[in-house]
Symmetry: C2
Subunit: 503 residues, 2 copies
């Protein structure tokens, strides 16, 4: 269960099977029937992949316009998943994620747009770095990148290079796809989701100017090859809005629909914007979650409200020092943006772009991490992972300014309030109203310390009037207050003692 079953058959090698040969398979278990697409892998080799989502004796049959393939049958037994295999990640509880086996998944992603197109050595280094990083998702493009700091040719071209140096978008370079999916598989073994980017505008090879027919065929091919990998997420584009001159909005919708057709696991699907005012309409039914690029993380709740789906801010600017403004914020600001987002019920991604002579910036090529943020991101992940049950939701019933200035979330009996640049010495708003048996901790999000906090009296505030009206107590509706250290970038965690927590 949740691993890739693959069956290989020999078929026609003449002509252009990529264009000419249709191949599908139906997998069945009892009265359940699942259709998948097969694909051509070169040299007369045809492949069908399938990812079983339940245990049992599966059978399959191939359907093709090639007589050698049509009608082939077979079967296999799906046994319980290996230890540590939880299935694909799905949206859960409207704003959150979990693996198929209901294990909560908190996306703590990073970005290496073109890492699979670098030298083999650099790719090994990237996997090495990832294996000890906090990141459990990575944004990565199928196509190589032509952009500042990205001028090298890819390890493998995605389509065949013709004698005149152009690329034949009707002839895939099978080795390129095999390599890509090998790396997806290795990520899977590291417990990392591959947020696979299908299109992007930064191109000199012609990949972003294929015809509509070529786009759709490519997409079908990718889905046939990759959709059985449990750790795949579909990101239809990086900065789709910069490609609207090539691919109008209706075509993006059609891409989504095509994926739905050929992806029985129903992997997560979204699409990433460039300009801040050009979010795709994530309310459309084929979008599973909101993927967004926006530095202004205090809008996280607005995006939740606007789209009603999990929000992943995949590009809140990167830690780095390049001239580009999206790639040069300091680590403290990035860590602050993490906590601002997490404490508003959203998720947020990482990127790093420090100048270096070799142009090996993590953000696009991978390699090694140099920044100060990843250790703090690991700390944040551990804090939220430790207590997540249904997903951390914004605290309700608080003052209008609460979620604008500071912010807080709750999951079952655990609440986390983040103060960002605010540094009250006394505080009570958002703390529990019930006088329960609470464990209270102060969290220093930069220094990565967790310190037990005693309860304190409610802050001394005077009654007040507004507009000459009756006195109001102006007191937070809490059972107790806290004394805080009067410094910024602190969080408070309040949770029921372990043996008493609601599940």
């Amino acid at each position: 269960m949740w691993d890739v079953f693959e069956t290989v058959a020999r078929g026609p090698a003449e002509g252009n099977p990529y264009l000419d040969v249709q191949l599908e398979a139906t997998f069945s278990l009892g009265n359940r029937l699942v259709r998948v697409w097969g694909f051509y892998d070169g040299n007369g080799k045809y492949v069908v992949r399938f990812c079983p989502d339940v245990e049992g004796e599966w059978k399959f049959e191939l359907h093709s316009n090639a007589v050698e393939l049509d009608g082939l049958v077979g079967g296999f037994v799906a046994v319980p998943p290996r230890a540590g295999v939880h299935g694909p990640v799905r949206a859960r509880n409207q704003f959150h994620f979990a693996y198929a086996d209901e294990t909560p998944f908190l996306p703590f992603g990073t970005t290496c747009y073109a890492w699979t197109h670098q030298t083999a050595e650099l790719q090994e280094k990237t996997l090495q770095t990832l294996s000890s990083s906090p990141f459990n998702k990575i944004r990565m493009g199928i196509f190589p990148k032509d952009y500042i700091y990205n001028t090298n040719e890819p390890l493998h071209h995605v389509f065949e290079r013709t004698v005149d140096g152009t690329h034949d978008m009707d002839r895939p370079n099978f080795e390129c796809f095999r390599h890509f999916e090998r790396q997806v598989g290795r990520l899977s073994e590291l417990g990392i989701e591959a947020d696979v980017i299908l299109f992007h505008p930064y191109d000199r090879w012609g990949y972003c100017t294929m015809t509509e027919e070529q786009d759709l065929r490519y997409l079908r091919y990718v889905v046939a090859r990759l959709s059985s990998y449990r750790n795949v997420w579909w990101s239809l584009a990086n900065e789709y809005d910069f490609l609207l001159d090539q691919k109008p909005m209706g075509l993006w919708d059609r891409f989504f629909q095509l994926i739905e057709e050929g992806d029985p696991l129903r992997h997560l699907k979204s699409i990433h914007n460039g300009a801040a005012d050009k979010n795709y309409d994530h309310r459309k039914p084929w979008v599973t979650h909101v993927c967004i690029q926006n530095w202004d993380v205090r809008k996280t709740e607005q995006w939740r409200d606007a789209y009603g789906k999990p929000v992943v801010n995949d590009e809140p600017e990167y830690e780095g020092d390049i001239p580009k403004l999206w790639g040069n914020i300091d680590a403290k600001s990035l860590v602050d943006r993490y906590w601002c987002t997490l404490s508003r019920g959203g998720y947020i991604g990482h990127g790093e772009s420090y100048l270096n002579a070799e142009d090996e910036l993590w953000w696009s090529k991978g390699g090694v991490l140099k920044g100060e943020a990843p250790a703090r991101i690991a700390f944040a992940r551990q804090i939220f992972l430790e207590d997540v049950k249904n997903g951390f939701e914004p605290l309700t019933g608080l003052s209008e300014s609460f979620h604008v200035r500071i912010s807080g979330v709750q999951d079952a009996d655990v609440r986390i309030i983040y103060f960002s640049e605010h540094q009250p010495r006394e505080f009570a708003e958002g703390l529990p109203e019930e006088d329960g048996d609470w464990e209270i901790d102060l969290i220093d999000v930069w220094n990565m310390t967790v310190t037990s906090l005693p309860r304190a009296d409610l802050p001394r505030v005077h009654p007040q009037r507004v507009s000459g009206g009756a006195k109001v107590s102006n007191q937070a509706n809490a059972a107790f207050g806290l004394k805080l250290p009067g410094k910024p970038y602190q969080a408070v965690r309040v949770r029921a003692r372990k043996d008493r927590r609601r599940s």
Copy 2:
């Protein structure tokens, strides 16, 4: 010139002259005629004040329904202004301010809402603090404040207290007004503008629930007493929107109009909002500048664009540590908000609210400053004052993201770019296109250092394509680049060498 001329006459003391006696005066110089309102100051004493705005031999005549006052005449000679006296501040060049004599004025205000209602000792301490502070404007209410940390009775009630303990809003406490204007005068001698708040909602005495007739009479009285002080600004309210249940929008408009009628110097006029989405419509013709309360300072240019007038963000939250979120940001964030605002062509105000056992918070009572921001505000003021000519205007022709993420302004041959949390090691955008004789400095806004920077090569950036299009150089349109230290909260100043600057 620009000082207060005052003439006193005896008149009726019986009945309630505040209600019954009308007094105006016409001041004339050559064929110019200026009408002002006189006022009753108790004990049969009537006063007319006038602030001459040109030199020369002024004559005046009183007009009254009281025969003792009607027809009195007099005159005085207005001599050139004393050294350091520049006249009232006015809007200039659409988005900026200058004194009447054209000396640029950069508002660096602070807030002590009720300082004139504290003990005499505390008021002396406040003036002492102000005399060595960077602040050249202070927000201060005529009425005392009933609010958290503000429970004391005022030094003087504004209207007479009756035997039953209520206040007679038809009988001013003359001593209170004399005291208030004495303090306005002392501020004037310190070079500090008094941003006089006429109404506010935090009240237990009945000041905010007077009748419309009482409001208008009070306003007329205040204008008669104060409008000859050159350093007065009219702030119609603190948080007017919390008073809309008492005073509908049309009444606020009428207040503005009444002031225009009785204020020959045409002092600056604005009105301060509470909720972030309740700005008064500052486009109305009687508003001279935008007074705003908003923490989100990167919207400064939006406010400039929306209202087309100088923007003063008088309450971008305060440095402090009280439980209230508007009063507990850290000094570094406040200083960052200063630079974010100033480098977007706006102005910004200060407040401080550190907890203390005596409830003496600077924000409302004055006293002493404890924070770390004021020294940095003094530094910022000095930087901008040093080079201001016409007013610093946002740099134009830059990338869309420029003013969203970082920001820069220019005044004649001087430009200042502020990087906030951005920390590029190389930079060129916004730098001069001409290869002139520039003086370049790195400004550390927190550590208050100014270091000379050499020119550097333009940042090495590769050509890039978008959407498969032609190569673009993706290079800032600058004559040179800069190497920066790769840390946040830095600014760069580029200016023509002194002897070559345009004026």
